[in-house]
Each structure stands twice: as C-alpha cells, then as structure tokens.
C-alpha cells in the first residue's frame, strides 16, 4: 500500500539553528512531492515541489530550501532558522498511478522557533 511519512511531528528549535524535516513515501515510484506551509487564515502555501530526484522547484522565496536525494525522499531544510519560520509544515504526495487520483497529505510538523 502507498503511504507517506513525515517527521518529526513537533519540533522546537532556537533561532539560528539548522532545520531538517523529512518526508518519505512508500509503495510507489517517481512520485511528485510537495512541501506546504499552513498560511495565515488557514490556507495552504506551496513552498517547494519536486517531480524527481534532484529536481526542486521553489514557489516562494524563503529562508528554506528543499532537496530530493532519493526517489521517495523529500527534505525541507534551513541553515539558520528565523522566528518567522515557525509554523505547520505539510508534506504531500501526488499519486500518479492509475489507482491514485489526488493528494495524500502527511501528518504535518509543528515547528516552533524560539
């Protein structure tokens, strides 16, 4: 079966520290992967998406970066966190096979920068 894993669930980090959030999918190959941030007003802001290994597209200039080191792994990173990086981050997978027709969201990571 196809599943998506995102960790950690919660994270408290000091300002200026690095960040690494990981997202992996199982049961599929060559998925399209996405990082979202829950925006003000409870909307979703697309941060990065990736259609394959090493292919990253950035939607918004951020203090963040993303990498796709393996087919089923998508990492959200920062070298130095800012207070404004606090928020809720969601990884999503766009099912592209015949049995999949939409997004599957990860469980999310609540990041608090202190």
């Amino acid at each position: 079966s196809q599943t998506i894993h995102q960790w950690p669930a919660t994270l408290v980090q000091p300002v200026g520290s690095p960040l690494s959030l990981e997202c992996t999918v199982e049961g599929t190959s060559n998925p399209n992967l996405y990082w979202y941030r829950q925006a003000a007003g409870r909307g979703l802001q697309l941060l990065f998406y990736s259609v394959g290994i090493g292919q990253i597209s950035s939607e918004v200039p951020q203090n963040l970066s993303a990498s796709r080191p393996q087919d089923r792994q998508f990492i959200l990173s920062s070298k130095k966190l800012l207070l404004s990086d606090s928020g809720f981050y969601l990884c999503a997978w766009d099912g592209t096979g015949a049995a999949n027709y939409g997004y599957t969201f990860g469980s999310g990571t609540r990041l608090t920068v202190v």
């Binding site: 409870r42 979703l44 027709y101 939409g102 469980s107």
Partner: protein
C-alpha cells in the same frame, strides 16, 4: 491516527444533480472545518469553510453543513457542473492550530 475521514474515495453524479461529499471527524476539539478542491496537476485550493458555532455556510452553489453531535460535515454542490470534477479534501483544525486532512473524494460530474 485518522482524525478526519472521508470514507468515499469516489463519487459520480450527473450534471445538474446534487453532489454530496461527506466527512467525519473524531476530535471534538476541532472548531473550524474547511473544504479544498484539487484539479489534476494543480495544488489544492480553498473552497469553503465553516466554524463550529454554525451549522451551515453557503457560498453560491456550495453549501457546507456541520453536525457537531454526529461529528460529521458534508459539502453540497447544487447544481453540479462538469467543471466541478476534482478531488475534494475535508480538513479540520482546533483553536487555530494545525489542520488535519481527510484522504479526499474524487468527484466526477458527467455531462
């Protein structure tokens, strides 16, 4: 754990008829509920929401109903149009905290 559930992975309706998409939740602390719509190759976009102090919110052809006692909400689309064919996600949050998403329901509106 699945706090937000959309038990129907797909739904097919005829153009002009009503589409009813259902969503159940388990967390009684949820106080805000949203529906997102997603077309292929596009990201999900916000459609309509409802606060727990209401039981109905209407926006044009879209109406969301909330039954707190049953922990159930539904999205009604009347009349359904072929352009409504998309995947619909239900989401919920508690006290302006993180959203939890359902697995989605694929709606197909046939002309």
């Amino acid at each position: 754990d699945q706090q937000v559930k959309q038990n129907s992975p797909s739904l097919s309706v005829q153009e002009g008829r009503i589409s009813i998409l259902n969503c159940d939740y388990t967390n009684s602390m949820f106080d805000y509920f949203l529906w997102y719509k997603k077309y292929p190759a596009e990201g999900p976009t916000f459609l309509i929401s409802i606060s727990s102090i209401k039981d109905k919110n209407e926006d044009g052809r879209f109406t969301v109903f909330l039954n707190k006692s049953a922990k159930h909400l539904s999205l009604h689309i009347v009349p359904s149009q072929p352009g409504d064919s998309a995947v619909y996600f239900c989401a919920a949050s508690a006290r302006d905290n993180d959203m939890r998403f359902g697995a989605g329901t694929r709606l197909t509106v046939k002309p």
